[in-house]
Symmetry: C2
DNA sequence: GCAGCCTAATATGTGCACATTTACTATCAA
DNA sequence: TTGATAGTAAATGTGCACATATTAGGCTGC
């Protein structure tokens, strides 16, 4: 073994690759947003988050920077990091972009249906139908969201997948902030079935039109904005989500007021 | 003035908002890539870059992370950061995505031409024509690249602008790596003029077709890959680009072998 | 002579301490 | 009472030191 490094009990043994820890922090915050736990405009303070998650501030900092760069959060230099407040105009822009992109994807898939993995598509639609029959809302919600992703993946074009990921990311932010409670399963998954059917039959025009209508319906649904948030504190939000490392909560500050819903922009 | 902070001569006075310094580092590396100065597969080592740019390693680190996240660079944990090696397949995917996106943009602009800033479009095309007549290759290159961006901006949709930015970013990487030397001005800017004309006349079908053909032409041009790099060292590349802060080059390492063209993936 | 391992050197990753900036509060004067 | 202002506390930002990982080179044994 190396000679000049035999003392590693200073900060704790520590795992080898902490990359999974970073992922855990990233996912915890993202998941909290998707669940609608974090109200729009909330100031995500690094020390508070670090304490809530039980990790060091630098880790939180890295995750926040990443999320900000992916446009999940708004970061203002020397001010802080905030949960964005999606606007109706942004919603419109997102869905306009989705129409262009996803109609294009649908057209491509229908045109070159001989080259795609029809089995995956068929199975996914079957899974959605099954979820409907068993009235499994949670699973159906998940599958519905993944359907659009699946189409992008089936196109075999990484660029399209990446672009749609960003769009769906922002899209789900609107979803979690403004359309939770009784979500009527994505305007009906039978629409997904119809789209898949048109694609598999190679009916390009119909696939394109169905996708267009489907997205228009989603946009209309999300345009109704009513929202009440029951946010209390970051500690409560991440109480059972805390990253499970031994005991790594240095943290300097000793007080935390997890409220400050500062303005942004 | 605050009482407990009167000693600031430890590390140098230091500017107030160093955010411009970060930008300078970021732009220096990005520009070097666009200029084709950095060969594909090159390992960008943090200490070497820090010394070449005359800044601290942390700053370089931050810039590298940002560039990696924007897919300008490939970053492998515990291994290093590398200049990516664009493949033909990626080129195809990029242009397929561009076709979907930009044809969609062109269609929208032509359809709603009454709402767009026709003046900006007209002036841009005029500027391109002027650059052609005066044979100003540099300016024409710049304008040609901006034309596609301009169309996205005229759409008034931030989402579309962002997506196209990512695509053009990656696209320009192919350009700088595989089509430099005698670039025949983007397959002729008269194509841009024709597209603008169709848009302004509201001829949706023609605008879409012209854009499609234009992009197909670009893709074909970039498919011919011949590349010789005259790379020497990172010091040479950034010799006159060094960030101009007073004298902030701490840096621990004392030797630098700016060669290592390590493999990736 | 070559394969495998061990060792040294260098690069990346991270916690910590401190600098800087911002926000909040209390005080005083008009 | 209200306004501005100074002061305090806590946030963000950053350089530094050290821990960890990787790689290249040399050595030994088969």
């Amino acid at each position: 073994m190396p000679p000049s490094k035999t003392k590693r009990a200073v900060t704790e043994p520590r795992k080898k690759g902490d990359v999974d820890t970073d992922e855990a922090i990233y996912n915890a915050i993202r998941q909290a947003m998707l669940m609608g736990k974090l109200p729009a405009g909330l100031n995500l303070q690094e020390p508070t988050l670090a304490r809530a998650l039980g990790v060091s501030r630098e880790r939180v900092r890295k995750a926040l920077h990443r999320l900000a760069h992916e446009r999940w959060l708004d970061m203002i230099p020397n001010r802080g990091t905030f949960v964005p407040t999606p606007t109706i105009e942004e919603l419109h822009n997102i869905y306009e972009a989705r129409k262009i992109l996803e109609v294009g994807i649908a057209r491509k898939l229908a045109t070159r249906r001989a080259f795609i993995d029809t089995e995956r598509l068929t199975q996914h639609v079957a899974a959605e139908k099954k979820a409907i029959k068993s009235d499994d809302r949670g699973r159906l919600f998940k599958l519905s969201a993944e359907f659009h992703f699946l189409l992008a993946e089936l196109s075999g074009n990484d660029q399209l997948v990446d672009m749609l990921r960003g769009l769906l990311t922002r899209s789900s932010l609107h979803f979690s902030l403004f359309a939770p409670k009784r979500l009527h399963n994505c305007a009906g998954p039978h629409e997904h079935e119809d789209i898949a059917d048109a694609v598999l039959k190679g009916d390009t025009g119909r696939a394109a039109k169905l996708m267009l209508d489907h997205l228009a319906g989603l946009e209309t649904m999300l345009s109704v904005r009513n929202r009440v948030d029951n946010f209390t504190s970051l500690e409560d939000v991440f109480r059972c989500t805390a990253v499970d490392r031994g005991k790594t909560a240095p943290l300097t500050g000793r007080k935390q007021g997890g409220k400050s819903v500062g303005q942004k922009t």
